[in-house]
Symmetry: C2
Subunit: 363 residues, 2 copies
């Protein structure tokens, strides 16, 4: 098998040992006589999988006991609606920071649902090349929550700080940075993340929610979107996405086996440093993101020439460096170097970038 380096922004690479383990037990799991895909979600075998998975996730992220962990469906986009439906009744209004496309979508979804929401800071006028820095006074005193997207996949930015919100719950979409480094969960009211970057195949969404925030859900909202109902039913109000949760558990196991999130952070920093150091050392490629807001997971760059960008992505693909084309809304290139991307993949990318620059001098 000729495995490629897949720089896709998501779904994205999974650790090879995880894929190999999943393949080896796909037809028959342990002594169960069946595939995990065939198991009743209420069977002892499956209940052990989801319970062990949650325990490992809690250990990895050091999640305090007063937080619930939910394994849901629908992706972060479903949570864009679920967040206000579950929380806004706290005070009746909520604040948002718009630092990229997905935080913008979250904000618009709350607006669409008819809620009193306010964008208190945005970097849109700067083409989202940085994350806005806010102070506590910028948040409305009676906001039910402040919503942020912690890592902006499309633009390649990341919050360089955790906003100080005082008693106002901080709600963060961490889809594209969860499990990439340790994070102080206690600073957040809610963290949610689609799995398909660092956690599992697409199809499961994790919500970490502080227990005291489970009491504000709308009466007239879809039951499936209600965190309280899901928490009371151990994520089994209906049949959960069993196999995706099993895959997440294998990823958690792998993360623990390499030393947890401290070690993962070291590896991710090393990969990102290699790429950013190269970008900073030359002037053929331009890295549009302000240094202090750089993402460790998604590295964006352009040649400044749309035709050259296109040629780059195409030739890189032929060389086994896949999916380097930037998001269709911004163009250029984007290298997503999530947990499962090996250091060698980034080395190969930098070598390719050097070669491409030499072979394609600008006019």
């Amino acid at each position: 098998m000729n495995r490629v380096y897949n720089f896709s922004a998501g779904p994205s690479m999974l650790p090879l040992p995880v894929l190999e383990k999943a393949a080896s037990e796909l037809v028959c799991y342990g002594n169960s006589g069946m595939s995990v895909m065939e198991m009743s979600h209420r069977s002892p075998d499956y209940e052990a999988i989801i319970a062990d998975g949650e325990a490992m996730f809690r250990r990895l992220m050091n999640i305090p006991d007063n937080y619930k962990v939910l394994f849901l469906q629908g992706g972060a986009s479903t949570q864009f609606a679920a967040v206000p439906m579950n929380l806004i009744k706290r005070t009746g209004k909520a604040d948002y920071i718009v630092s990229g496309q997905f935080s913008g979508k979250a904000y618009k979804e709350a607006q669409k649902l008819g809620y009193d929401v306010k964008c208190i800071a945005s970097s849109k006028d700067d083409n989202f090349d940085h994350v806005p820095v806010i102070k506590r006074e910028d948040i409305r005193e009676d906001a039910a929550y402040l919503h942020i997207c912690f890592n902006n996949t499309i633009y390649g930015t990341k919050f360089p700080y955790i906003p100080d919100t005082g008693d106002i719950p901080l709600v963060a979409d961490m889809s594209s940075c969860i499990l990439s480094e340790p994070i102080d969960v206690s600073k957040f009211g809610v963290i949610y993340a689609g799995a398909q970057k660092n956690m599992a195949p697409a199809g499961v969404t994790v919500v970490i929610v502080r227990e005291d925030l489970l009491d504000y859900s709308e009466e007239k909202m879809p039951t499936m979107l209600e965190w309280k109902t899901q928490a009371e039913n151990g994520s089994m109000y209906n049949t959960p996405p069993c196999y995706s949760i099993y895959m997440a558990k294998l990823v958690y196991e792998w993360l623990l086996s390499i030393g947890g999130l401290e070690e993962m952070k070291k590896r991710n920093e090393k990969k990102a440093k290699l790429l950013y150091d190269y970008l900073d050392s030359q002037n053929y490629y331009i890295a549009p993101v302000k240094k202090e807001s750089r993402s460790m997971m998604n590295v964006t760059f352009v040649t400044g020439d749309a035709d050259l960008d296109k040629k780059f992505a195409s030739e890189a693909s032929a060389a086994g460096l896949k999916n380097l084309k930037g998001h269709r809304s911004v163009g250029g290139m984007r290298a997503s170097i999530y947990n499962a991307m090996p250091y060698e993949g980034v080395e190969k990318l930098v070598a390719f970038m050097k070669e491409f620059a030499e072979n394609n001098p600008k006019a």
Copy 2:
């Protein structure tokens, strides 16, 4: 590998050739150099998977061109909310038939959302031992739709007829009978089904919706639940549950390879006949469902003695006949004999039932 016969009501058995194929290409799909789990949903490789899957599904079910097929998340339970949110604006009210637990949940969800819904027929007073028969006049003339659950997994009943609703769209939850036999899709406005019985592992929900019914969605509803949005985006408004859709495609391929739904129906009828004929030939076990409402997928029976029922499920499990315990809300036994259950599994079950009856005479 010692493969068991798994009579679980869902998640449930998948065809062995499907599992074996999935295992063989889990780490690396074709020449892609990656797992299907790692593919960008917007990559040509994945777009071919979802397009081919939809084409096969349309062919299997003979779906007319004026119907959209959506691959969504959240299970049938999410559709319980999505159905009224997408349709009720047509007239402002809707009718339901309650023939079991899930149709009851669908009805209650619409009530919870504050809608004007009416239960026009229920078999609750008869412990759901049959499906109510209704006439066209029983439906409110100005109902936006009539909602039914076509096969009631828990009680083991199935609609022996397709209600004549005239111009009123018929909406059917077919989670536990889809793909078990040919069905005239044109008689329905909407068909939806969670995948985890006959189609794929849990994690994908199929919605088949007539195009003219896409124009009635609420403004203030979660975008992810809006069929029109999903239809316009080819089920990719956000990242779909890619791997579950791939698994569904493998199941569609298998169904086509054996001869499609005509052949599947023959096999399912043969399995169900074996079990029902035995039940009708003796008086140790009682089959509570009225004959005309019997499900071809879920066969319920009891000994009439709760302790014996428990012993039955336990000894059957030890004999490799798994998950025969009835749903926790009704007790007794339930044999779910979906598409992937081989005839031999039902033969073994009947043999076991005979042996158990001999060895455990009633007082």
